[in-house]
Symmetry: C2
Subunit: 187 residues, 2 copies
Amino acid sequence: MTSIKGKITIGQRNRLQYIILGLLNQQPQTGYDLAKAFENEIGEFWQAQHSQIYPMLKRLEAAGEITHEDTVAGEKLAKKQYTLTPTGREKLVAWVSQPSPELTPNKDEFILKLYFIKKADDPRIQPMLREQYQLHQAQLQHLQQRRETVFADRATIDQAYGHYLILDHAIERETHYVEWLAQYLKK
Amino acid sequence: MTSIKGKITIGQRNRLQYIILGLLNQQPQTGYDLAKAFENEIGEFWQAQHSQIYPMLKRLEAAGEITHEDTVAGEKLAKKQYTLTPTGREKLVAWVSQPSPELTPNKDEFILKLYFIKKADDPRIQPMLREQYQLHQAQLQHLQQRRETVFADRATIDQAYGHYLILDHAIERETHYVEWLAQYLKK
DNA sequence: GTACCCATGTAAAGTGTTACATGATTAC
DNA sequence: GTAATCATGTAACACTTTACATGGGTAC
């Protein structure tokens, strides 16, 4: 499965910073909030732990791309609410406007295991397919339910069109993954 | 897009070693050959550079899971042909037989950029979709051509069933990705 | 003879995960 | 009161990429 010109590459280009800028552009947030967003909103397409987020926030602030405001919740729980600066917003816009001419390898351990099984009648194949079927079926249902709740009001689609698109994309992807698995499960 | 139980994880489990064992199980090879395989055979699902492969081969050999034989091509070009030991084969089988109960986040920079565009009529959307359409269309054609050449003889399917499956999977994935893009390109 | 591929390796730097650490708030 | 969640941070380690480095073989 050669890439077109051997140019599949990820990492080493600090995409995390842009994603954080993008999330902060949607609304000022704390590092904790960002960590949640990486679990809930965009976990299908990128992940980052808080241990990666907090240092990055400091870097971005030192670079003048974001600022923070200290707030206190309740008696004395300290929070840092981060906001984009004009510089940060410029950088975000520049990133979004740049072409993305690279295919990303989708690391998939299950698929690789399949690759190493040679014979079509190997008894390990069916249980493996079943396991993945359950996994992806559950994920698909989860995503569908999410779309129903987040976009219950059709009017929100136009206000968060990108969000709608990527949720739709994720649902399509899982749908066809499940279909593909089902196709080979029958046999 | 929450994962089912916040359990999407990759890395830190040294999958590379298993993939190398799997590749060597198919046939004894050099590190150079392995690097090519990561570009051509399984590049859709995993990647590794030679700078990662050579040290890993040493580790695997030190662990007694592979051995090498020095050969010379031509006058004096040194090659190391690596082979699985019984221990290595056991470890490979154990890995393949283990469940793979985790969803992998498919990092996709383009999709993330979309996420940060809020309005459906943003003029950046259409050119972005067009760019991705061309990219994935080309990749799809490449994969289809690959299937035609590798599995021209239908009999090879049963001898390399896993290979057939993952190529089929990659083709399905690209097909639906292209369809998804086309759907939103029309509008 | 030169460009391109074969072949192997190391070094440096960046990215990402897991573990360590601490403390406040809320719901039961 | 206690468990779960909110909130922030650092340290150690593992993984990955890019760059540095060297030399042989083949086709033109």
